[in-house]
Symmetry: C2
Amino acid sequence: AAIQGEPGAALDDQVASEIAEHPFGTVTFTGRAWKLADVRLLAPILPSKVVCVGKNYADHAEEMGGVAPADPVIFLKPPTAVVGPNAEIKLPANSTRVDYEGELAVVIGRPCRDVPAERAAQMVLGYTVANDVTARDQQQADGQWARAKGYDTFCPLGPWIDTTVDPADLAIRTELDGQVRQDARTSRLIHDVPRLIEWVSSVMTLLPGDVILTGTPAGVGPVRPGQTVSVTVEGIGTLSNPVGLRS
Amino acid sequence: AAIQGEPGAALDDQVASEIAEHPFGTVTFTGRAWKLADVRLLAPILPSKVVCVGKNYADHAEEMGGVAPADPVIFLKPPTAVVGPNAEIKLPANSTRVDYEGELAVVIGRPCRDVPAERAAQMVLGYTVANDVTARDQQQADGQWARAKGYDTFCPLGPWIDTTVDPADLAIRTELDGQVRQDARTSRLIHDVPRLIEWVSSVMTLLPGDVILTGTPAGVGPVRPGQTVSVTVEGIGTLSNPVGLRS
């Protein structure tokens, strides 16, 4: 669906209009529409791959006890980790510490490979908000991050894809039960969005719907069952997810 | 397609029969068939995810200068890395050393999560052969392995999925231009196939067509343009791929 209305307006004043087919290229509508308050949003995209970037804010690299690498370091989350807004993040019983990581996410709009940074914007469908949920203890134990970041529900995306925002300098904020824990701007990204698209597409072909998570700023910390974590990116919206236990 | 004939028989004596829909569950045929010699096989599956296991043969862990970890360490390759038999492995210009890694691969047949090892065999469609191609220099530089193992063409799979073989003790052999470089048996896997399905499915839901690469034995080494690398798993077949340069 396409969401229409003023950013930040009441849910009753925003409308979800059903898209006839897919969101790539010129969108056509079925004519059916509902108040946003009356719908349950799912993840705005089911990506064929989720490419993530580690340590892309200097202050987060520092809090993790390291320095930011000169080139982007990438890793992958499995598509099965993706959930939408308000879906529960389910903590596995075998981890003693699961952290939120609020991030700006890029949604790719066209198949592409070897894209120069100067042309990267043409390959973008839009932007959404992501939470790169991480079992911190398992990340450290394994060395490789796929398990710690790959659990089902560990990639909340949403609440929708904004197709008009400029990602260069947006406020990004993570709140845990309403308390601000991360507060930064995307202008502090070490490798900005065009550079990340250039880097990732120099390795792997990107397909429509693929998602790039751009990295998290300082302030990561653990979540507990019963809490709610909300990530807001200026000009896009707020992605909120309650936390529960995996059964 | 389904391939029928004696293993190891001449290509003219084996037949590729077209499957009506997908290979999961009871297969139906369209009635069209060709001699295997007259068809070009593509990758036998397009997985939604490729889950790989690091250091799962003790002798390979040793040659990499480490010891095998007590629990499986997993990482992901992007689906865009998958190619079929006889497709060219394309070396990126920015790597000074790209290695073959011959492996047994498991193809999942049913959606599943939290599968105990005792029931793992029920979740398997069959087995194929894989080459976990790796830019060794970038693997070491990044720490995370997604880039080094994620280039397009870095996950040859094939030549087909064998649905009857028992994976417990199969000879696995990698040849470079006809010279044997890896020669082992799957009975030497530290974590066997049922244990790997248990481990991976305790993290992420596995979907039909998802592939698990079980790890490579000792003998990894570099490939150069113009060479051909062939991985054979007893009872399944041989996966051969020429090596070229990425353009």
